[in-house]
């Protein structure tokens, strides 16, 4: 058999059994003792008609507050934070929502010697989604966004789809909407 990667297929409507039931979901991307600015990330998934998607799954992968990934291929001489494993995954509820507890990640290197702005790496799965949809969450009004090499690849008028926005009433709460399709379609990446 030729060693060609296997095709993706949808997670279907019953992924909860294998991925998010009981101990398999992870809402604490960073535990309460993790170093860094606390973030409660309220994510919502909407379809092309703007209707909430109640059977999607969101996964998060992020660096710790110093910009270090909890992974052997991150060779930076920075300390790991045992309270920030950097992984989360949750199913959306009947309102298309799921809530992660984390910290704002530090800046990690991009390519060509440029630092990236603080961001979370996101995978969206769901019924009707044949292959995962990778996107990113940046923080609105973060000064370093203007020098982020990945945001620079995104047409300016679409960059806002990658921004989490602070809740005006609750400090540390951020909102991020994923529009799978439609006028405000979120930027998805070919990773």
């Amino acid at each position: 058999m030729e060693p060609v990667p296997i095709p993706s297929q949808t997670v279907g409507p019953f992924f909860h059994l294998g991925c998010t039931a009981a101990t398999r979901s992870v809402s604490d991307v960073a535990g309460p003792n993790a170093k860094g600015e606390r973030v409660r990330l309220i994510c919502r998934v909407l379809d092309g008609d703007g209707q909430p998607v109640n059977d999607a799954m969101i996964e998060i992968w992020q660096a710790n507050a110093d910009g270090k990934y909890h992974h052997p291929d991150d060779l930076q001489e920075k300390a790991l934070d045992p309270d920030c494993r950097g992984f989360g995954r949750l199913a959306t509820d009947e309102n298309g929502t799921c809530i992660f507890e984390t910290i704002k990640p530090g800046r990690v290197p991009g390519n060509m010697g440029k630092l990236q702005a603080p961001h979370l790496n996101v995978s969206v799965f769901g019924r009707g989604i044949l292959r995962r949809l990778p996107t990113r969450i940046y923080f609105a009004a973060e000064a370093s966004n203007s020098e982020d090499p990945i945001l620079a690849l995104v047409p300016e008028e679409r960059r806002n789809t990658l921004m989490a926005h602070p809740d005006l009433h609750s400090r540390g709460h951020w909102h991020f909407d994923v529009h799978l399709s439609g006028e405000d379609e979120t930027v998805f990446f070919d990773v």
């Binding site: 030729e2 060693p3 060609v4 095709p7 390519n111 009707g128």
Partner: protein, 238 residues
């Protein structure tokens, strides 16, 4: 910037025909859920070449044997399901989490949203997980799932399948797929299976009956190898 911060790892890109397109109208749910705008090609940075190291801590022995998770045995045809997780250079992917979920032998999931009027099996949860060994090998014991109807189109039936979820070594290698059984007459009619444009790639989703894995007087063996994306060879890599 210190040299080690720019170590040049990237993962090979997919052949587009080997993967389903997001929009595949015969699978109706894609119509409202598939993005229409072009994907933006993301160069691989530290964010994509790293990924969650997850699920290593709390795996119980019965997690990989779906026939021993309850007091009694589930009904159905007992099967041993095994295979190698490899990268596209043929190298094993060791110690990575493999998660599965499936319907019972009657084609019913233990899930509140499954309304198919087929019997539940009190002895079957239909979820398992395991880690690949040092050689990238995994094995599950389970029962063969039944086919079941769905509302996609008139007289629509899903072929028997088992869902697989794998992380691999990086964010770039994350994969969720479905495994089918050889000779299933429903495969030509299934828009999810048929969403993969390339015929050879599609065939990779079908497990093989394996007499070597089959245990006499006990269970049929099926083999399902899973190839994940591999690293691009670069002059900077040792």
């Amino acid at each position: 910037m210190p040299k080690e911060m720019t170590r040049n790892i990237t993962y090979r890109r997919h052949d587009p025909n080997s993967q389903p397109t997001s929009l595949h109208p015969p699978y109706r749910a894609t119509i409202r859920r598939a993005p229409r705008k072009p994907l933006i090609v993301l160069p691989h940075t530290l964010s994509e070449i790293t990924g969650p190291v997850y699920g290593h801590d709390d795996i119980a022995e019965t997690d990989s044997d779906l026939t021993r998770q309850h007091a009694g045995e589930p009904l159905g045809e007992r099967i041993i399901l095994t295979g190698d997780v490899l990268d596209d250079g043929g190298r094993p992917v060791p110690h990575t989490l493999v998660e599965i979920w499936q319907a019972n032998a009657a084609g019913r999931y233990r899930h509140q949203m499954d309304e198919h009027p087929a019997p539940m099996d009190p002895n079957f949860s239909g979820a398992g997980r395991t880690l690949t060994d040092a050689n990238g090998r995994y094995q599950f014991v389970t029962i063969k799932p039944g086919a079941y109807p769905w509302s996609n189109h008139d007289n629509a039936w899903r072929p028997a399948h088992i869902h697989f979820s794998l992380f691999g070594p990086a964010f770039a290698t994350r994969l969720v797929t479905q495994m089918y059984f050889p000779g299933d007459p429903l495969l030509p009619y299934d828009p999810i299976f048929q969403s993969v444009p390339d015929e050879n790639a599609r065939q990779r989703l079908i497990s093989e009956f394996d007499l070597t894995t089959t245990k006499p007087d006990w269970a049929l063996g099926f083999r399902f190898d899973i190839i994940l994306r591999g690293r691009e060879a670069t002059p900077f890599e040792a």
